[in-house]
Each structure stands twice: as structure tokens, then as C-alpha cells.
Symmetry: D3
Subunit: 298 residues, 6 copies
Amino acid sequence: MIDQDQQKISHHDNFPDFSTLGFRFMACAADYQEAEVILFGAPWDGTASFRPGSRFGPAAMRLDSLSLETFSPYQNKELVTGKVCDIGDLELPMGGRAPSLAKIRSTVRQILTDGKKPVMIGGEHLVSLPAVTACHLQFPQLCVLHFDAHADLREEYLGETLSHATVMRRIWDELGDGRIWQFGIRSGTVEEFAFARDGHVAMRTFDCGSLADAVSAIGGRPVYLSIDLDVLDPSVFPGTGTPEPGGLSFQTLLDSLLQLSGLQIVAADLVELSPPYDTGGISTAVALKILRELLILI
Amino acid sequence: MIDQDQQKISHHDNFPDFSTLGFRFMACAADYQEAEVILFGAPWDGTASFRPGSRFGPAAMRLDSLSLETFSPYQNKELVTGKVCDIGDLELPMGGRAPSLAKIRSTVRQILTDGKKPVMIGGEHLVSLPAVTACHLQFPQLCVLHFDAHADLREEYLGETLSHATVMRRIWDELGDGRIWQFGIRSGTVEEFAFARDGHVAMRTFDCGSLADAVSAIGGRPVYLSIDLDVLDPSVFPGTGTPEPGGLSFQTLLDSLLQLSGLQIVAADLVELSPPYDTGGISTAVALKILRELLILI
Amino acid sequence: MIDQDQQKISHHDNFPDFSTLGFRFMACAADYQEAEVILFGAPWDGTASFRPGSRFGPAAMRLDSLSLETFSPYQNKELVTGKVCDIGDLELPMGGRAPSLAKIRSTVRQILTDGKKPVMIGGEHLVSLPAVTACHLQFPQLCVLHFDAHADLREEYLGETLSHATVMRRIWDELGDGRIWQFGIRSGTVEEFAFARDGHVAMRTFDCGSLADAVSAIGGRPVYLSIDLDVLDPSVFPGTGTPEPGGLSFQTLLDSLLQLSGLQIVAADLVELSPPYDTGGISTAVALKILRELLILI
Amino acid sequence: MIDQDQQKISHHDNFPDFSTLGFRFMACAADYQEAEVILFGAPWDGTASFRPGSRFGPAAMRLDSLSLETFSPYQNKELVTGKVCDIGDLELPMGGRAPSLAKIRSTVRQILTDGKKPVMIGGEHLVSLPAVTACHLQFPQLCVLHFDAHADLREEYLGETLSHATVMRRIWDELGDGRIWQFGIRSGTVEEFAFARDGHVAMRTFDCGSLADAVSAIGGRPVYLSIDLDVLDPSVFPGTGTPEPGGLSFQTLLDSLLQLSGLQIVAADLVELSPPYDTGGISTAVALKILRELLILI
Amino acid sequence: MIDQDQQKISHHDNFPDFSTLGFRFMACAADYQEAEVILFGAPWDGTASFRPGSRFGPAAMRLDSLSLETFSPYQNKELVTGKVCDIGDLELPMGGRAPSLAKIRSTVRQILTDGKKPVMIGGEHLVSLPAVTACHLQFPQLCVLHFDAHADLREEYLGETLSHATVMRRIWDELGDGRIWQFGIRSGTVEEFAFARDGHVAMRTFDCGSLADAVSAIGGRPVYLSIDLDVLDPSVFPGTGTPEPGGLSFQTLLDSLLQLSGLQIVAADLVELSPPYDTGGISTAVALKILRELLILI
Amino acid sequence: MIDQDQQKISHHDNFPDFSTLGFRFMACAADYQEAEVILFGAPWDGTASFRPGSRFGPAAMRLDSLSLETFSPYQNKELVTGKVCDIGDLELPMGGRAPSLAKIRSTVRQILTDGKKPVMIGGEHLVSLPAVTACHLQFPQLCVLHFDAHADLREEYLGETLSHATVMRRIWDELGDGRIWQFGIRSGTVEEFAFARDGHVAMRTFDCGSLADAVSAIGGRPVYLSIDLDVLDPSVFPGTGTPEPGGLSFQTLLDSLLQLSGLQIVAADLVELSPPYDTGGISTAVALKILRELLILI
């Protein structure tokens, strides 16, 4: 079990001048034991092929979270203090893919064992693989909802089988047919689109039109929700490694999230915010608002 | 009355090679006495809590105004020379909130006394307070139309009662119930939304759907128009201190403006353009086009 | 005829470790002789009046083309290897307008003479003039489809008759009435809009609503397609010299392109990508995707 | 006394995967009670007249401190764990000068009362005033060593007596003649240079040539060390609000610091790092190295 | 003669709140007739071969001049009000080299005819040619002092004889042997260095070591001073089109300027500040300080 | 042997308008067979722990090489056409450390076997390891000259033994004591400095003072020259992942290079240029000038 003392940083009643601004995500300083949701950063982008930088995603989100309101006018609810505990970032060596993935897997495993829901902030998309694996162990019926511009269904990429471009294929290796629903896909190879057409995964191209069908097909089964933020149009979310024009509006992604309220989401991730390419900080603002809505939702 | 000599900079007929590029807003070099509209900058952002920079707004707009056409294909009209006089920026100390607000108030008062319409370029949103106060003195029936992402209705913010986050509450203190219409609001505390629900102000969340109702409710009463440009979506207008995803498109804001043509607008402001965050200059281009349409409209 | 040896850079079978990453546009390393389409850069922006930089457009697109897939899910087709030959950039002196335009004209002329279709990457919009002129010589019935935010129909600009702001007027001088269709126009002088209203060119303001009519009016005549990328909204395409708010979405421009599939397009250009203003690289990504769709289309 | 639990964040032995990367300055996670030096941020820049942004200084330094070694080859010593406690940032409203200064003063007072040395990270230079005032109460013989490009000796600035441009004059009001030594000064009004020539403060222009004399004149008296990082040349330290060419090299400032090893430094500050202007992050790297050397020194 | 009314913008005694911040260079709002020095911008960079942007130099300097003191601690003198008149920027079409050069020439001619000293802010280095030509007409004995990283002595460049890379060769065409002294040169072709070795111009490579010799050789002859700011090292002055490592420090250039106090400088220019590449604004700060020292000097 | 056809891109005599601007490093388009020096890029930064981006180094250098002169005034020599062949970039997967290192090793091996000198452009510093290994095979007496801010002598870093922070230790594993000379070192752990003090490598801290001794100690033995460009001061070279204040000036590094003219340099690399952090492009300009001097030297 996690050390409780570590959670005390926000308790400083007898020295009220000292603040902890910037130390944790806004409103996410609950005690680990009392929290229902455990937030953590996986600042790793070791297979980023084009423009790395998502390793800085969690840090940028913590800093800018100071400017976000805790109240959601969309859900008419507050992100209440005491629900979420931000336990910081995992220490992950860039060159060490295997130990990094192992550390993510064991972290997610422990959080689930403690009866809590993990929410992971990437990092690149490959970090979703060990998180899904850990969830699958706990929830054999696990389904995956995947929002992304890219199919990520390659058998291999640049000679590697473990890559941000193969992550959904590896998750399919783990879960098998009929467990993965993809939305907003608009980039991939001929083979990836064929793989979906062959029925291995349910791929919706360009938009989220078939989301209601997916929700009813999943029913009461446990869900891992993986949001690659590059599913959004680059005008809305420029700060990412591989911007793909023709994506979702903020409103569409938000509406899609709110449609998931009936599902049993057991874990989630937000990946591919790359602050070095987020000129003006608007992508970080988008990521934070999606995160707030997600945390209130689950 | 203002010194007329100051307006002569654009008259240099006997030395035609000398230009005044960059000195004034495009097509806004009328004589003060002949002008109907007086444009001025209020480059102050002394209470900006997150990312300051709107103090550079007026300078950025003057510079880039060289690239804007004077003709509006939307209204099929030209911004005619001789109508608007740009009198430059007020000199406002950042650390001195009280004298800065006083100087804005006296400037607006004099312009109104001279029978002209003031248009102010911010700076942060708190600069609207003294401008509204000065208008209210002249026009006791004053109404306020407010486009913004943020409700700005807090009783206090970070221990301060005068802040960009409290400005509409202070204006309500001045005008009372039934005088303020808000559009595009998508961020605030529980208390701010409750304040609106209690009927003190007419708040439209997310969009401008109810604008026609507001226009007919206001009728012939004098109107102060305050446009916090962060009402626009950050994809359209990234250059602002507190970007809020989920905002208006340029077309929606423009259409809203054109719906106001029947109103008696006696003063207006455009605030919260923050050039340090306007990478690529697209926010300044948006602000300039909104300003052109506004100047032609009134 | 062009030297064939120059095309061999991608053939290095006996030393497979050596790559040519970054040397040519993705999938555009066909032999000149076998290629149907010849791609080249015209990195010239010598009359840019506001913010130059489009001279760097071709280089930025080559570099970032590595991150683009060759498969189009929109057309369900691959950009096949062997169809397009990228012959690099023309060497054009910035101060030398006349020789630069002459070099573009002779290049386009030779490509047409060799029975191939030229696709030119600007550079500023004036580079379209010599390309159209060369095409007109070959195809007397030539029509022009022009997507742009700006009418570019001035008789002169800043005392010059050859400028990015006069290019369509010069093309009209060449082709005459009834040959030019414009879409997305939202900026110009009173005189330019009057010139269109007088029937010299078919100008569609703000959007592409009348595109189907244009396609049917053109019928089987040869078409030069000129896309000034600033026709897109600055939120989608910030990286350009004169951003004009209120433009097309990516989807609208893409749909418009796909509507052209029945036309006989004999040459095309993409102009006004200005990488120094393309913070985050999203404009380059848009330009590349439009280019891919265009190359597959023709 | 400060809550001890707040210091426990780095102790998480039974859940070793959880890290606190980015939460505190490198190697500054000592218990408050055991620490000799207390580090805190004063992220306030409410009177910045030109380019604000130093409010983000502490956050930028914490983030980038991960890339700094704890060992100093200059002093051949390590910044040992257990010596310094980073208590985070004070929460200071931008528009509220008086309460912000009061909070800094009371914080410094308490740290001194607890028998520890405060090291403050600005923020703008005005934050030094309450810190010096608090020290003066504890140490009536207090001397001030001041490294800066600007004299900061104005009687008032833009109508204000409390400003970053008047801070040393206000400190002189408090301490009187013969207590202030300035180095590297290269910008000011005629009056400020005259004030120094009249002997009220010891001002060294352009460099630190007379530092040894100052050290021997001060002798065993307690010293407040205030480093406005813009004393460095803008090539070395571009990330500041008012860059002044002609400044110190990094080596000169470092050598100057090391000359102070015999002095009794009771408190210190580093001010005017402005991350929005620190393109490439080199100014933050400089600030961090100066801080490391300073922490090892005292 | 120039229209006097144009100079009145700074006189607004009866409406003291209105300011002209940003309209003119700091302390350069003298009446044209009373002024000894006439400052103007030549915002033209039409032959820039690599990275254009110096067209924005004058505007950037005007804006940032607000942060500069009028007092020089180097010369212990103030830039007195009433000495310098900033008449704004010339309107120069980018594509029109000939009319642009003609307009500069006639402007300089008139200023000299009026008995005043022109100081021109570029723009690219080619703007020096018409200025020198105009001076030569007035002062047949004219000598040129040239600080630059580049020799600018090519016979032609990219097929053009009028270019930033040929400007000193063209000036030599005008003035002949023994009239040009160059300092800090560290880039050029074999032919350019040979041209200097043949004695046509006095070229000092890398530094300004021989400046005293030049000053005594020139004696009482009239001098045109041309400072291409890229003579400075890119660490000091990154904001320029063609940065050349290995250049002067700020102190060296400043010291060199001060050595010129005995010369009869009849005109001067500062060229090649390119704001789009001046990240953080430090180059603009350097340019302004050099300009202040220059204006005080002459 | 390498395919000769691949070298033909610069031969296009019968179609002279087609250029190859941007395809290869300036003046480095020799035939592979005739070339003495083979230049290639190793765009890999898979273990970068702080700020990745050096993968874009070779591309940035190729692009900007167009603005560099081929003549060196320092060595009074031209970089002659026909001496150097730029064979492009190796294709290296980011997540695949082992295959990437293997590809570099085999490339260097082949170039040496062909009797030529390899010059490699990184990429991060770990790419030096396979290059040195390949050279050691060919030259058993190999010595290494290493310019760097960081000792790179750790036994492991973040749990990894193959990292940019361990590369010199791994090279020492290969070469043993007395073979490695380091210059400019100013960052490392206590253990790394102790390792040097124990005599395993000859480490010069802060500067290059002892370079002459190293040159004479090496004598006629073959030398691998590895230049981590962060040895330069961040003011000179900001564009790197881990900027370390207190570094070399450009002049010092250049002078050091020229001192090596008597050595038998058999291979060399330039690493750690990170273009995303090279605001303004000055670091790329420095890297290019060092490369030009290096290519002329060897």
C-alpha cells in the first residue's frame, strides 16, 4: 500500500502562507487511501518517430491546471476535492522500453488491487499497452474504446513490434476480436484499414458517428478508455507529434465522452500531448478540460 | 478639448515620401474634432492571474493593421477615412490600479462629453469597469452586452474585489439587475452560475443563441458593448491569457455583431488580446477584422 | 530532356543502409521519364508585402512529408511509387523578378512538352502567373480554378503591376473573360469586387457553394488549378503571410478537391505556405495532405 | 512552526515506483525542521512595466532542475540532501501589491525566527523589499549586496513609489547610507547615477571590479544578497523583462559569488527570470546553476 | 521642405492623458526644422536571399524603445529631446527594387539639403547604396566606415548586380579606391578577399583592431557610417538573416563607436535587424542601445 | 561498394534549370568513389533524458548549409567540390537501440573499408559508440579526442548502461586507459570526476588549456574526434538538449580544432544539435561553420 505521509503536502494549516501551487493537478490532492481515482504521469516517448515531446505532457498539464475551474458547466458538477489523488510521475528511462513498460504495468496493477481507478497521462501511445495488460488481468472481459487519428494497428513499424504505431495491434493480440472500438481514425496503411474491414476491430473513420452502437454493444462489460488527443483536429490541438488534419472538434470529443456515462470505465488514459509543439498553450488547455470532464464522469 | 495639431501627422503633402506607416490604426487618422469615433488603447493587465501580455494588444493591432483591407465584404461597406481618430495609448502604471482606472474613466468621460463614441482596445477585462462607469454617468439607462468565455461575476478573486475575474460583478454593482446580457459563457464557479440563474444577469452559456431576444429586450436603450475576445474558440483565437476550449467560431461572433446593427451602441471595447501568446499572429488578425466590422457598424 | 541519372538517388540496392530520407517528397522519387506528374518547388516570395517566408515552403514540406502516410482513406487509394518525380527547387534570385518568372515559365513549358503534368509548390502567389502563361501556350482553351482568401485582381499594388496582389488580374489579361472561377474570396478592395460583379471572373465569396456549377461549365476544357492555401481559415492554416479569418475548413477544401475528379487538370500549384509562421507545423501538415490528395486525384 | 507532514512527499519507500519528479527543486526535499536553508518562490510581477513573466520563474526552475547535477565542479562539493527544504510558492494576487508584500515579509520573518536562512526565487525585483525589511528587523546591522543591470534607485516610477524600478531606493530608505553595494549597473536616469555619486550607495558600473573592497568593508556584518539576473549579458540570460546589453558573463557572476564565501549571508534572492522570454531554456539553466552554487555556498 | 504639422503629434498639452507611446523612437519627437538629426526607417528586404524579415526592423525598434533609458552611462550624456526627429518609415514596394532605391536616395538628398544628418534604420543592407550615393553628391570626399560580418564585395550574386551581397562593391564603383574601411569581416568568397588584398578597400578581418589607423587616415573628411548589425556575434545578436558565428562582442562594437567621436559623420545607417528571428527581443535591445549611443555621438 | 548512380543527382547538365537545393550539404555532392570524406547523418536520440530533438540535427544542417560560404577565412582555404560525399541519413528506429547502433557500426565499417574517412552528424552522443567501435577494429591504436560539457563517464544512467550519459565509459571499456582526452568538461557526478582523477581518462575541466599536451602525447596514432556541441556556452549554442552554462566560446573551439591539423584524424562526429531548441537558428549556423572547418582540416 502506498505511503500515506506522501499525501500530506496539501495539509499545512499551521503555516497557511505556504502553498503547493504547481505541485499537483488542480483539485487532485486527496489522500491515496480515500481517493477513488489515482492519477499519474507516464512521461515516456521513447518510440516517437517524428516529433518527440509527449514526455513533457504531465508536467505541462500540472502547471497549467492552476488556470482551470473545478466546476463543469457541461455536466453541471464540480470536481470535488477528496476524490482524486495525483501521485506524480513514474521515473522511466527513455532508452529502456522494457523496464518502462514493466513499471507502468505494475503501477496500474497495484492501483487496481487497491480498488481504485487508474487514470494515466502520457507520454506516447505505447504506454497504453502495459496499462491495458494490467487491466485485462483484473478484468478478463475488458473492452477498449480508442479515440485516435491513427489506426495504430501495424504488425510492426521501422522493424519494431512495440511502438506507438503498433500499440492497438498488440492490444488486439492480448484481447482478441470484438473487443476494440476505434473512433476518428483517418490515417494508416492499406493493411491497417484492411485489418479493420476484416472485422478484428470496429473502426469508425473520420468521426464518432457509431458511438451509441458501441456503447450498447459493450453494455456492462468493463472498459478501458484510451484517448489519443491527436484525434482532435490540429487547429484545436496543435501540440502533438503527428498532427493529422481533418479531425474532431472539441465539442464532438466532449459530447462523445458524455455519451459514455453509462459505461463501467475501469481505467483511462490521455496521451500524446506534446508541449514543445503546443505554441500558445491551447492544446494543454484542451487536454486539461477533457481530463476534468473525464474525472467528473468516472 | 483635444489638441488638433496632434492629428496632423497624416498630412504631409509637400513631402510625400515620408509615411506614417505603423503610427495609427489603418484608416483611423481622422481629426479628433471631425471624428465620430475615438479609438484608444488601454494597455494594462495588472490583475492578470495566469498569463499576462494583453498590455501589448493595442501595439500589435496597430502594427498588423497595415495588412487589413478597409473594405468589408460582409457589410459591403468601406471603413471611410475621416470617421475614426486613433488617439494612441493611455500611459498606465502596471502596479497602480487606482490611478490607471481613473485615467480610463476620465478619458471616456471627455470623449463622451465631446459628443463622440469611445472604442477602447485592452488590456485586460478590468479596464471595462471605468469605461462603463463613465458611460453610465452620461447614459443612466445604459445596458451592457458582454461576450466572454468567463462569467467574470465573482464577488472577489484571490482576495481582491477589483480584478478581471470580478469585473462584471462590479458592473452589476453599478447598474443593477436586468441590465447585463452575457453570451458564450463556459467557465466560472458554481456561485457565478447560480448568480446568473437567480436572474441578476441574463447569461447565455456556450453560444449566442438568445441574442435576438436580447436585442429586442434592449430596444432603444443605450448600449455598452464589451467583447472579451476569449469568447472565441482557442483554435480561432489562441493569443489570450486564459484560453477556454469550446468557444465560438469567427463566423458566429461576426454574425452576432451584425445582428446588433439596430442598437444604439454608445461605447465599446475589445479586450484580452495577448500578443506574446499569439504565435503566428492569427489572433491579432481576428481582432483587427472584428474591430473593422465594429467600426463600420457603429 | 531531363538527365535520367539524376533520378537514381533512390536506387541503392547494394548499400541498403544508406537512405535518402528528407531528399524528396514522400513517394515522389519516380524516374523523370516514367513519371506522369512532375513536382517542383518555386521558393520565391519577392513581392510579399506583409510577412515573407513562403520561400521556405517547399523545403518544409519535403522534410515533414516523412510523417505522412501514402494511403488516402478519403479516396481509398495509395499514392503509388513511380507516378510522381520530385525534381527539387528552382534557383530563383529574390531581387530578380523577371528572371525568376522566366525560369518558372520555361520549366513548366518543358514539362508540358515532355507530356507530363507540372505541380508547383510556392512560394508566393505571383509564381502562378508564368505557370499559367506556359500552360496557355500549350492549351489555348485553358480555364483557371482559383481557391484563395484574396481576390488578387488589383490593377496594381504599391506601384507594381506584377505582384501577389495582382496575379489573377494579370492572368485575366492573358485569358480574358469567362475563364476564371474563384472560391472562398473574402478580402479585396471595392474595385476588385466590382471587377468580379462586372462579370470578368466568376467570384464566389466566403465559401465554395457554386463549385458544381463551375465544374459543369468548364466541362472538358483543360484546367489549371491554383490553390492559395490562405483560403483556409487561419485556425486550420496559420502559417501564411496574410491570414484572413473566416475561411474554409480543411474538410470543405478537401471535399471541393474531390469534386474535381471529372475535370481535365493539366497543371496545378499550391502556394503561400510560410513556415516561419507555421508554429507547431500544423499548416505544413495540412499542405502535405492536400498535396497527397491532389497527386492521387490527377 | 511549519507542518512536518508536508515534508514527507519524498518518503515513499513502500511504493517505490511513485516518484515526485517535478514537485520540488532537485535535492531540496529536506524536512523543514532539519533544513538549514528554506527555499520558496515569490511568483509575483505586478509592477513589471515592459514585459511581464517573472511570475513563472519558480515553476520553470523546478521543472528544469531535473537536468542539473547536484555536484559542483567549481566548489568541488555536492548539494547534499537534507540541507535545503523547498516549501513551494507563496500564493500572491497580481493586482494586490500590499497583501503580496505582506505575505512575503511574514514568510521571511518566520523562517528567520525558526533559525533558518531564506532563499527566495522571484518574481520581479520588488519582492526583495519585504524580504530585506524582515531581515533588517532580525539583523539591525544588515548590509545588502546587489547585482543588477539597473540601479533601481528612482524616487518614483510612473507615479508609483513601490515598483521594481524603485526597490533599492526603498531599501535605502530602510537601511540608510553605507549599507548597499551595487555591481554591474549599466542603466538608469541621470538622477540615479547622481544619487550614487553622492555616496548614498556604493555603485560599481558595468562590472564587479570592486567586489573585494566591498567584502572587506562589510566584514562580519550580516548580508542580504540580491541577484537580479539581468545583471548578466542578454546573450547569456535572454529570458528577462528588460534585457540590457553589455552585461556580465556567466563566469564573472559565478566568480563573484565564490568571492563571497567568507561573508555571513543571512538571506538571498534570485529575481527576474522570465520564462516566456527564455527561448530555448538557457536562462533557466543559468539561473539553476547560480542557485546550486549559492545553496552550496551558504 | 517637410510639413511641420506632421511633427505636432507630441504636443497635446490640453489633453494630457493622451499619449503617443509607440508612435516614435524614444526621445526622437523633435520638430523637423529644429532637429539636427533626422531618423527614418527603410523597411525593405527585397533581395534577402536566406531569411527575410529586416523589413520589420524599424517597427520593432520603435515599439521596444519605450524600455530604453535616454541617459548613456558610457558617454555620461543624455539623448536630449529636441535633437532628433523620427519621420517614420518610407513606403517601399518589396518587388520594386528601382523605385525603392530611388525613394531612399531622394529622401536622404532632401535631409542633407535641409542641413541635417540622416540616420536610416534598415531593412537589408542594399538600402545603404542609395543613401551613400546621395551623400556622395553632397560630399565629394565621402569616406565609408563599414562594420559587417560579410564583405558584400561580390560583382554579382544569383545573377543580380544589385543585392545585399554586392552593396559594398557598388559603393566602391561610386567612390573608388581608398575610400572604404571594413571591420569585423569573416565571410565571403575567395574573390572578395582577393579584391580587398588588392588594395581596393581596407578590410579588417574578424575584429576592429585597426580602427585607430582608419580614423587617423580619414582625418577631417566626411564619413558615412554603415553598421550591418550582423557584425556582432550571433550570441549577442541572433535576430538577423545570415548569422555568422565568431563575431564582435557588444562591448567591442560600442568601444569602436566611441572611438569615432572625432570624425565628421554626415550620415549613418543601422541595418539587418530581423525581428522574426529575434527570439526574446535581445537583438532589438542591442540595436536600440547602439542607436542611442550613435545619436548621442553625432 | 556503394551504388554510383545514387551520386548523380548533381549532374543535370542538359536541364540546367533543375536544382538540388537542400538535397545535400553545401559542396558535398562528390561521387562516393572519388570522395575522400563520407558525410552521413545519424538522426537518433532514443536515450535523450531531458529534451530530445537531436534527431532533427542533420536535416536542419542540410537546409541551412545553403547560407554558408565554402571559403574559410580562418584556414584561407576553400571546401573544394569533389572531396566530400553526403550520403544522407541512416534510417534508425527510435525505440530500437540495438539495431540502430548496429547500423551505424556497419556503415562506418564499410566507409573505412572503402578507404575513406567517415564524418557523422548526430543525433545524440550515444551514436559515437558504434562509430568508435568500428574504427577501433580498423585502427587498434585508436585514440579519442572528446569535446563536451558532460563527462559521459557514468557506469549506468537511469538503470541503463547504454545511454548518452555513459557513452565515454563504454568507449573506455573498449579502448582502456590512456586513450581518451576530454576537454571543456563542467558537469558530472562525483564518481565521474573521481574516475578521471584516478587516471583512466585525461579530463580537462572548463576549457581546452591542455590541448597542446594532448596533441603531442597522441603523436602519430590514429584519432577519433568526437565533438558534443554542448561544449560551447549556451549563449553561443542554445540549441541542445542539456545546456550547461560556463562553456567555450566559438573562437576557443575553433582555435582548438585548428590546433589538431598535425594529427591523423581517421573519423569524426558532431553531435547534440537539437533544432527544436535552436530558436533563431544560431546553433545550426555554429554547427555548420565548425563542420566546414573540420571538413577542410581533414
